[in-house]
């Protein structure tokens, strides 16, 4: 071989070996692009080359040193090719292993033995090119063969499973079924073993037998580890596996070791229970139920309480074809051949869907069509869905005539027929249903006598006839006021409504409480027009109900809205509401002041001081402010209200002043404080109001300053 090719070969070997070592070291961080994933899947193809080359080469090296006909095995090119192909195969394998799903320990053996072959072949290529080997030739031959055997065998285990090679002479235990009937389930096989599998098998398996304990086979489990048997029948407290699990987690002997997933108290209880009952490998769970430990276990296991007979799954295409915007079909759970079908009341609903369902009829476990316009015609198709367990036909258009056809459904357990117009004679035949457990009949046209009879005939079946209509008298809710404008300039109106049919709304405008019996109040028929300050009280009445609580709305006139105004002292930075403009926006603040932006808040050195300007000086008689009182939050009445007026800017004259007494108890709600004004026309008006500087003694914040919250300044 000429030098050029030899050096290329050498470089290739070197390159691939280094790449292999590098990727093995940093394997954890590797991200695999799709191209290399394809390369990875070529591993099963290429792996046969290195196996052959290494085996043949290894065997050749076992021959006496100078054997002529195997001289090729002492050539650097042969081992370069072997090393390169082994490295390439190992790289492919490395990529393939990233797809996951392989047993870690076996994989490691496989991986590192392949690396060892690569390095060994590399060494041979290097030394044969440059002279002598450091050890006799046959040592390398044997090593290569041994490594190839290890690597090849572990690879076989990875692909075909651990027992593949010897299975013909040593049959494996049959695979455990995933789902078992609770009645047939065994304590060890179905309760204890899954726990061991989850928490113990990782270290006590044929590939990794810590403490000489093999738990994956019955023999190994019974035999125990280096300290003998791990359980003593009937005596859990002297059983090693229980004792070790109960040691403190930091103890070296504690099992599972610190840092590994631990047994939960419930799991330990199950193991404890099994040993206590004699560590019987054949005992059935049903023999002990209901025992607290096992009942608890049964509840939290994902074992279905009901085991359905195996049936073949419906074809995916027919399911997809039947699905629509009013018909949803899903398996009961992952992998189950049984389906649930939900029919919805949708504009595209078509009654022939039930006929079409026959295609997957055997697979339907649950059919829910409540609330859809199903009629008697569809009952026949439904009665053909032989495996139906649950059927919902509440609030449909069925008359009940042909309901007995449903008796065909031998497995039916739950039948919902509430909210229809069924007669008791239509329903009675259904009570003969052999397997039916629950029948929902609430909201049908039954007389009391019918109900009694039905109950008598129902026997053990759960017959839900619903709650009898509530005969207690309830109170109506309040009428609703639509967008009430509490502050108005000229006039406004109050629109009232009530969501219940037939309700009468009574109202008054004179402060009296409306009351139909006493003849107080007017019946609301059309929006109430409000032209002046007015409090309207209203309540709803309806026969058969208590009248609603009374509600009221206070309307306030704000006749003169200034053309311009300015707040001389800004409101507290936390309570600036929707800006200063809210003072004249004709909008009432809401009591939840912290989120409602209809309020300006003042405290301590702050107070309300607003200067207004009118283009056409109005004739003013009264100024009021709307305030919020909320004692818990220190929102209290103001201490005073002053009004200043003038027609020449700057020359203010006090035209009204009013002080308010400090309250002697908590006050809540929205209240108005008025101040009479010396009548006259003023172009400039200033309104000043101060919060209480010190809260009174009875208040829990005594001595602290009070707050003043203002939502509107009313000038009349």
């Amino acid at each position: 071989m000429n030098n050029r090719y030899r050096s290329i070969l050498e470089n290739l070997r070197f390159f691939l070996s280094i790449l292999l070592v590098f990727l093995m070291v940093f394997e954890r961080y590797m991200h695999l692009p799709a191209l290399l994933a394809v390369l990875g899947r070529m591993h099963p193809l290429v792996l046969h080359f290195p196996v052959t080359l290494a085996t043949v080469g290894g065997l050749a090296l076992l021959m006496p040193d100078k054997t002529e006909w195997v001289s090729w095995a002492r050539k650097t090119e042969f081992w370069s090719i072997t090393a390169s192909i082994t490295a390439l195969t190992a790289l492919c394998g490395l990529f393939l292993s990233r797809e996951g799903g392989y047993d870690a320990a076996t994989l490691n053996w496989h991986k590192y033995s392949a690396l060892a072959i690569t390095l060994c072949a590399g060494y041979l290529a290097w030394r044969f090119g440059r002279g002598q080997l450091h050890l006799p030739q046959w040592v390398f031959g044997a090593t290569t063969l041994l490594l190839t055997f290890i690597c090849g065998h572990q690879g076989g285990v990875l692909t075909h499973g651990s027992n593949f090679l010897l299975e013909p002479i040593r049959p494996s235990a049959s695979a455990t079924p995933v789902v078992v009937d609770l009645k047939k389930a065994k304590v060890f096989q179905d309760a204890v073993r899954p726990i061991l599998e989850k928490k113990c098998f990782a270290c006590h398996n044929p590939n990794k037998t810590k403490g000489d304990l093999l738990m994956t086979t019955l023999e190994g489990f019974k035999k125990g580890g280096k300290n003998g048997a791990i359980f003593v029948a009937f005596n859990p407290d002297s059983s090693q596996m229980v004792q070790m699990a109960l040691l403190p987690e930091t103890d070296d002997l504690h099992m599972p070791p610190q840092g590994k997933p631990q047994l939960t108290p419930e799991e330990l209880k199950v193991i404890h229970f099994w040993i206590k009952k004699g560590a019987d490998f054949g005992a059935k769970i049903s023999a002990y139920l209901p025992n607290d430990t096992l009942a608890t276990w049964a509840k939290t296991s994902s074992m279905p309480a009901e085991v359905l007979p195996d049936i073949s799954a419906a074809s995916k295409t027919s399911i997809e074809r039947l699905k629509s915007d009013f018909c949803n079909i899903r398996p009961l759970s992952q992998g189950s051949p049984y389906l649930e079908v939900v029919i919805l009341n949708h504009q595209n609903y078509q009654a022939d869907v039930f006929k079409k369902l026959a295609k997957i009829g055997k697979n339907i476990y649950r059919l829910e069509a409540s609330g859809t316009p199903v009629t008697d015609k569809e009952i026949k198709s439904i009665a053909g869905l032989e495996n139906l367990r649950e059927l919902g036909l509440g609030k449909t258009k069925i008359t009940g005539e042909n309901l007995p056809e449903l008796l065909n459904l031998k497995h039916l357990r739950i039948l919902k027929l509430h909210g229809n117009q069924l007669k008791s004679k239509d329903v009675e035949p259904l009570l003969k249903f052999p397997g039916l457990q629950a029948l929902y009949l609430w909201g049908n046209d039954f007389s009391d006598k019918d109900l009694q009879q039905l109950r008598k005939k129902a026997g053990k079946m759960h017959l839900d006839l619903g709650t009898s209509p509530d005969t207690t008298t309830l109170q109506l809710n309040k009428p609703l006021a639509e967008k009430p404008v509490a502050y108005f300039q000229n006039s406004t109106q109050l629109i009232l409504s009530h969501p219940m049919r037939g309700v009468k709304i009574l109202y008054t405008t004179d402060g009296k409480n409306p009351d139909e019996k006493a003849g107080i109040g007017m019946v609301y028929t059309k929006p109430i027009v409000v032209k002046q300050d007015q409090k309207i009280k209203y309540r709803a009445e309806l026969s058969g109900w208590y009248a609603s609580v009374m509600d009221s709305l206070e309307f306030k006139k704000n006749n003169f809205i200034p053309d311009r105004f300015e707040l001389k002292i800004p409101a507290n930075s936390r309570f600036r509401g929707g800006g200063d403009s809210i003072l004249f926006n004709l909008t009432k603040g809401a009591p939840n002041y912290s989120t409602n932006d209809g309020w300006l808040g003042f405290e301590r050195n702050e107070h309300l001081d607003v200067e207004c300007y009118f283009k056409n000086p109005p004739e003013i008689q009264k100024v009021s402010i709307g305030t919020l009182l909320e004692d818990n939050s220190y929102l209290v009445p103001p201490s005073n209200l002053e009004v200043w007026g003038t027609n020449t800017p700057g020359k203010w004259e006090k035209i009204g002043s009013q002080t308010y007494p400090i309250p002697d108890g908590p006050q809540y709600g929205i209240r108005y404080f008025d101040c009479k004004v010396k009548p006259g026309k003023y172009a400039y008006v200033k309104v000043v109001s101060k919060p209480i500087p010190k809260l009174p003694k009875w208040h829990r914040g005594k001595g602290e300053p009070g707050w003043l919250f203002v939502d509107e300044v009313l000038i009349n």
């Binding site: 390159f15 691939l16 280094i18 790449l19 590098f22 990727l23 940093f26 961080y29 590797m30 991200h31 695999l32 692009p33 799709a34 191209l35 419930e266 608890t296 509840k299 939290t300 994902s302 074992m303 279905p304 915007d325 949803n328 899903r330 398996p331 009961l332 759970s333 992952q334 189950s336 939900v342 919805l344 009341n345 949708h346 504009q347 409540s370 609330g371 509440g394 609030k395 739950i414 919902k416 509430h418 909210g419 929902y440 609430w442 909201g443 839900d464 619903g466 709650t467 209509p469 509530d470 309830l474 109170q475 109506l476 809710n477 609703l480 969501p499 219940m500 939840n592 818990n632 829990r700």
Partner: protein
């Protein structure tokens, strides 16, 4: 979806592969291609599990979660502590408090006087479940519910606590329970989202609710909760604008879908597919939502059952009625919130009002589901984000007091969907301060709920930013004592 995500990932990696190839010579450079993390930051990883169906036959097919936001006091609801009467106003022993951290609202208090419940309790049902007189209707359904008195949480403030309950983590950003269910179980009705949210507000002191509570976190955004509002427009911007016909809208959506499809093919962002699906869902909701909200077909008896407020949009009662209608229509997870349970002061008064809002309608929901044969496979949960302290916050009078936040024990109830009915689970000490027996931490509660829905909580996993996430994160075990 999985296929698309995989494809987009391959796209990205293939590009990276070729770009590096042109630069790198030698094995190390070549090797580094396969190990992007070695030289640059991590890349997002896609889901590890193909979800969409329950792993085993579920007990519950859907959940209605009546969240009492603000944290109702366990001492005035379900945790009856008659002995406290004798200790009226006495200091809470330090041996009970055991250094429990306090909120900023009571940490300055020098005295922690014991405040017994203002309201009396009665026993209801066959097992004598204790329920306070605030909740006579819930008392009547005692045989259908399972009261858990030993819930406990890690958080002591509202938003972290409620976020913890909904997402399994105190910081926001993870998917809500409903989003996990939508991801894990898929939808039963294509015309409505699998996860819907309804909110209402009582007159009591309330705390904010934020959309992250029903967000989808790192899951595909089709799984996020859709909120229905009370009033004329239950879903904002759902109606066609004036002058636009249904066919025009259809045409517009088709065109948009085409553009999105182009963009998806070019860039491969799975969120684009989510967007296309969302448009389609909104289109279908144009008919399904009005039908849902139309209460004309509810009988007078039903109205009486829930109380007349159920006809007033935006009330808790009307949300309960809607929850039943949503459940009937195959919505997987209906999340209600009723705000106003944060009684730091004025507790007897405010709690009376709050209880009045929810008592009748909550009980009605159970009764109504039961008579429709739906309680068997519908899980209903009622409760807040934590409990309240046995000692008084602020001014203390026999008939007026407040309670601060308390994480170590509180009461909730559950019903239907495979929950053992008529029992009271767990026991707290005489002060309702610590759990004595059968503690139920939030992650255990979540694990149990998932189990009832047919999901192993350790197996519903989403890998995001190089880490695997579950609703129960790294803990959570089933609570067998409350299972049927």
């Amino acid at each position: 979806m999985q296929k698309e995500i995989l494809e987009s990932k391959l796209n990205i990696n293939r590009r990276a592969f070729f770009s590096k190839m042109s630069v790198g010579i030698g094995s190390l450079a070549l090797g580094s291609l396969l190990i992007p993390e070695l030289f640059k930051g991590g890349e997002e990883d896609a889901a590890t599990l193909i979800p969409g169906l329950s792993q085993f036959a579920p007990k519950a097919k859907r959940i209605i979660y009546l969240f009492q936001s603000g944290a109702p006091s366990q001492l005035e609801t379900f945790d009856y502590k008659p002995k406290l009467r004798e200790m009226f106003g006495k200091e809470l022993p330090g041996s009970i408090r055991q250094g429990q951290r306090l909120t900023g609202m009571t940490s300055g208090q020098t005295s922690f006087p014991i405040a017994p419940s203002y309201i009396n309790f009665k026993q209801y049902g066959q097992n004598g479940t204790w329920v306070s007189d605030f909740f006579p209707h819930i008392g009547k359904i005692a045989d259908d519910i399972c009261v858990i008195r030993t819930m406990n949480t890690e958080a002591i403030n509202h938003d972290p606590a409620i976020t913890f309950f909904q997402t399994g983590n105190q910081q926001s950003g993870r998917p809500s329970m409903g989003a996990w269910m939508s991801y894990g179980l898929g939808s039963e009705n294509e015309n409505l989202p699998a996860f819907m949210v309804l909110t209402s507000r009582g007159k009591g002191n309330s705390q904010g609710l934020y959309a992250h509570l029903w967000g989808s976190g790192f899951l595909d955004s089709v799984h996020q909760g859709v909120m229905l509002r009370g009033g004329k427009n239950p879903v904002l911007y759902l109606k066609d604008p004036e002058g636009m016909s249904q066919s025009e809208r259809r045409q517009m959506l088709d065109q948009i879908a085409e553009l999105n499809q182009n963009s998806y093919e070019k860039i491969g962002d799975p969120e684009t597919m989510a967007r296309i699906q969302q448009y389609e869902m909104a289109y279908r909701m144009q008919t399904s939502v009005p039908e849902l909200m139309d209460l004309k077909d509810e009988t007078d008896n039903t109205v009486k059952l829930y109380g007349p407020d159920c006809l007033v949009p935006g009330t808790y009662a009307s949300n309960c009625l809607l929850a039943r209608r949503l459940a009937e229509r195959g919505v997987r997870f209906v999340q209600l919130y009723h705000q106003g349970w944060d009684q730091h002061g004025n507790l007897p008064n405010e709690m009376g009002g709050q209880a009045k809002d929810v008592d009748q309608a909550s009980a009605a929901l159970i009764t109504d589901l039961k008579q429709r044969g739906m309680l068997e496979d519908t899980l209903v949960i009622w409760g807040g984000e934590f409990g309240r302290t046995v000692f008084c916050q602020g001014d203390f009078k026999a008939d007026n007091y407040g309670r601060d936040h308390h994480p170590r024990c509180f009461s909730i109830w559950m019903a239907g969907g495979g929950i053992k009915p008529g029992i009271t689970y767990g026991e707290t000490d005489d002060f309702s301060y610590n759990v004595v027996r059968d503690s139920v931490p939030v992650h255990d509660f979540q694990a149990t709920i998932m189990h009832l829905m047919g999901i192993d909580h350790e197996k519903l996993i989403f890998k995001h930013q190089g880490r695997r996430y579950r609703l129960t994160d790294i803990s959570g075990k089933l609570v067998p004592g409350i299972l049927m």
